[in-house]
């Protein structure tokens, strides 16, 4: 397995059996001598035709970096499964992860480098391209160069970092539109670690303020497996209770025992109200300094009711639950942190954990990674802002963009498309000709995640730290057309720092030596280099010897003050941009499976829609399928209405990820892009873009369509079971778990 090229002969047989598969069942061609059967020239003894072989790798669809195994048959990757050896996903895999094969086989993948000549992008060769890179960066001043990358970890990050350094540049930006950056900064302050480790399985009660941990938040598949334990009733543990508080029902909210709609931005008020009530009830008084105790006095039931729109009865129930069930776990998610006072919101919410004494029980510190240079850079939106500002200031001559599509994800007010034009040479490393690539001067097509080598260190580590291996699951589809970013970086570095990198033939060689050199850092590995390497590839996971840390809460000078709510008569509605697990920030919109998979809650497919509460809709005379215009101060979009009971009546929700102007046949011109609507509101303490702080107004255009959805088209607007016993529900105190296995 050490040399990947030994697999290429398989392609032949791969192709022919595709022909067979596609021929389908209608035809019954049984004449002899029609089809050709390809034999091997030199077979591998571990490869038997018609029997699948599994190779371990790492899923790069989201930042969770689950371990995967790919089923390879006759040289083709057929299907991805979870890798049981990975502590992150324990052999499970979400829909997004499974769809990675469609990125690999995507008909719209770029097959050759493109160079801007005259007006348009013309095909060119890699030789020209790499030469051009060297030339353009040859005598470039460091500050004139910028590299904008998506979230990155492992050795590729090191290479990129070194390359940027070699140019004497400081401008390496890690940009992700949807990371919990504010949360992390707050928990850094509060717990002393940005990514504390959560134990949902140990909790009796989870109160989540918009943290969609089952679908889109941090490490969904891992949390899902913990959720199973959390819900399980055993002898020593009751079935856990989940309360979800958010303006728009997420998948997690849909699975909650109690879902509480709340006016966006007032999560902090509710949280402090709860703290106050708990303190009154004598819980956690000692855990807080007097300053904080006095600070929260102002937040009583009435205020919560008035500002957050949470009824007193619900509030009391919540207080009762929190004081009864222990240990509990309080989480703060995107909808809580996406405000100008996002940090205060998050702080107020996390304060609950301190009061309830969850810190150290259901929350503890992650293992420390011995080599920080490999640690994950999750990225944030401040990076984009700084990048964009410098572009606007015409600072950058050469810009590299990798694993990000800022032209699509940047809000309209940033005018990023225009600013990008100011830099004279823009290089985009990508798989598709997406919005950003269209603006580039040089587009360099990369190997798919299933063709590439790499190492990853997930930002969120469930228990001891894992370094996960990424290896090609099959021969490159376009051997001469695509390359690995690692190879490109290495190639460039050879120009600049020849003596350091000359003895690495390629990225693969670099990785191998880099890992084998410090194999001592991993536990349970063999001494011999080759065996170590093969084992690493076989298991796909390397356990890192990291040192455990302890956690402690520090609430002094924690800013929890909540601003008074500000109304807006002209723009009455709060805009809730919802994250779809399938699309995330839109980078997966070109995967047909995900387009065809109904949205879990609305069951809509192949489009965008605006969710509006039936009551509000009734008030405004809006029916399902009416085309509405959603206008903010910075733009407006038109899309179909979906009457959705799971959205707070003063808010409208639009899913992210659709509305691409380019990228491919499955994504282009499907739906609308709410990123463009966002107001220029930033979190005060971190400068993060406040995703949930946009106000909009809604108006009918008069047009109307029949929505394309999975739930039946019956006159009953809200889809219920019509009294049939399909999904049966039982009250927890009625249920008899004793017999369950």
């Amino acid at each position: 397995m050490s040399n990947i090229n030994r697999r290429d002969f398989l392609k032949v047989l791969g192709w022919s059996s595709v022909a067979v598969a596609v021929a389908g069942c209608g035809k019954t061609s049984v004449e002899s001598g029609v089809e050709t059967v390809m034999s091997y020239s030199q077979p591998e003894d571990f490869l038997v035709p018609s029997i699948g072989v599994y190779y371990a790798s790492t899923c790069t669809q989201c930042e969770a970096n689950c371990g995967v195994t790919g089923r390879v048959r006759e040289g083709r990757i057929l299907k991805l499964e979870g890798n049981p050896e990975s502590a992150i996903n324990l052999g499970r895999l979400c829909g997004l992860g499974q769809a990675a094969v469609q990125h690999h086989y995507n008909p719209d993948r770029l097959k050759e480098p493109l160079l801007r000549q005259g007006g348009g992008l013309q095909p060119t060769t890699w030789e020209n391209a790499t030469a051009l890179l060297a030339e353009k960066t040859g005598d470039l001043k460091g500050e004139q160069f910028a590299f904008l990358s998506g979230g990155l970890s492992g050795h590729l990050k090191v290479l990129v970092q070194n390359y940027v350094d070699s140019l004497g540049s400081k401008n390496l930006y890690f940009y992700e539109a949807l990371t919990p950056a504010v949360n992390q900064s707050v928990s850094q302050k509060l717990y002393g670690t940005a990514t504390p480790r959560f134990h949902l399985d140990k909790a009796q009660l989870i109160v989540s303020f918009g943290a969609d941990f089952l679908d889109t938040w941090v490490s969904p598949v891992h949390f899902a497996s913990q959720y199973t334990q959390f819900r399980k009733a055993t002898i020593d543990k009751k079935r856990g209770t989940l309360v979800q508080i958010e303006p728009r029902m997420t998948l997690t909210g849909a699975n909650a025992d109690r879902w509480i709609p709340i006016i966006p931005g007032t999560e902090g008020v509710l949280a402090l109200g709860l703290v106050n009530a708990l303190l009154k009830g004598g819980i956690g008084v000692k855990s807080l300094p007097a300053s904080v105790v006095s600070a929260v006095r102002a937040y009583d039931k009435e205020r919560v009711n008035k500002e957050a729109g949470v009824s007193g009865e619900v509030f009391d129930k919540l207080v009762a639950l929190l004081s009864e069930r222990s240990p509990s776990l309080v989480l703060s998610g995107l909808s809580a942190e996406g405000h100008a006072h996002g940090a205060q919101n998050a702080a107020a919410i996390m304060l609950l954990n301190v009061v309830l004494g969850n810190v150290g029980k259901t929350i503890d510190a992650p293992t420390r990674l011995p080599f920080p240079q490999l640690a994950a850079e999750e990225g944030n939106s401040v990076a984009l802002k700084r990048f964009n500002d410098s572009l606007a200031g015409d600072k950058f001559k050469v810009v590299f963009i990798y694993n990000a599509n800022p032209v699509y994800t940047a809000p309209a007010f940033m005018k990023l498309r225009d600013n990008l034009k100011k830099s004279e040479f823009k290089v985009v490393f990508t798989h598709y000709l997406d919005e950003t690539a269209q603006e580039a001067d040089l587009v360099l097509p990369l190997d798919s995640a299933l063709e590439d080598w790499g190492t990853h260190v997930a930002a969120y580590q469930p228990d001891s730290i894992e370094l996960t291996m990424q290896q090609p699951l099959m021969e490159k589809l376009y051997p001469s057309g695509t390359r690995s970013l690692g190879d490109v970086m290495l190639d460039q570095l050879k120009h600049r720092r020849a003596n350091e990198y000359k003895d690495f033939a390629d990225y693969y060689a670099y990785l191998k030596s880099a890992l084998t050199r410090n194999k001592g850092a991993f536990s349970g590995v063999s001494a011999d280099d080759e065996t170590f390497w093969n084992q690493a590839l076989m298991h796909g996971v390397l356990k890192v010897k990291g040192q455990e840390q302890s956690i402690s809460a520090n609430v002094v000078n924690l800013d929890i003050a909540q601003p008074a709510p500000i109304g807006d008569d002209q723009y009455p509605f709060h805009l809730v941009p919802t994250v779809r697990s399938g699309f995330r920030d839109g980078r997966h919109a070109n995967l047909p499976w995900l387009q065809e998979t109904p949205d879990s809650l609305t069951t809509m497919v192949w489009d965008s829609w605006v969710e509006i509460h039936p009551k509000t809709a009734e008030r405004m005379g809006i029916k399902e399928g009416d085309i509405l215009e959603i206008a903010s101060k910075n733009g407006s979009i038109k899309t179909q209405a979906y009457l959705f009971p799971g959205v707070q009546p003063d808010s409208v929700a639009i899913p992210l990820g659709q509305g691409h102007e380019a990228m491919g046949r499955y994504a282009k011109d499907v739906g609308v892009n709410p990123f463009k609507l966002l107001d220029p509101v930033f979190d005060k303490s971190t400068g993060e873009l406040a995703m949930h702080a946009t106000r909009v107004k809604v108006s009918r255009t008069g047009a109307s369509v029949r929505v394309v959805k999975e739930e039946g088209w019956s006159p009953i607007v809200v889809n219920t079971q019509q009294g049939r016993k399909l999904v049966s529900t039982i009250a927890v105190d009625k249920a008899n778990f004793s017999k369950e296995v």
């Binding site: 061609s29 001598g33 020239s41």
Partner: protein, 198 residues
Amino acid sequence: MNLSRFLCIADQGAARRFAVGLLLLAVGVFGAGAAKADGKVEQPIEFPHNTHAGKMGINCLYCHTYARRSAVSGIPPLQKCMGCHQSIESVKDRPRIKKLFEYWEKKEPIPWKKVHDLPDFVRFSHERHVQRFYFKQERPIQEVCGLCHGDVKSMTVAEKVQPLSMGWCVSCHEQDHRIDNVSAKTSNGPNDCWQCHK
């Protein structure tokens, strides 16, 4: 069950004879469904089975190496041929062997034509049949393979001698076969649709 034996003809010749008697429609249907045993197929190299399987008496599984462990029997890889022929000086100058060496130089697989081609919706496992009749019943391999492939050692390139039609498969599946060469226990082949249809 003689009735069915009479009505549902398995072997092709009889099917023809019966078809003649049927109405025009029925004939059409037969033509559509029935597999034709269409004799010799033009192959890139006229491989002499009679020499290898017949004169040399080489075990079928020696070349068709996947048959015992996979659904497909696998056309022998070039490497296999070369394994012997590199060292057989006597025939090196024969035209066929020359051809073989050419392919080997180019390292490109020989584009053999399929002779025993089943429809795409059929799931046939060589493995199971070889396991049952060769390893369990311990019948001579050439007899076992011969059940479907005919007396290969009398052919040069393989020819299709059985119709490989569903009825023909069933005609054997519904008979009782000894489960191995020691016990007298018998069982018939699976009649589960999904065993063969995929």
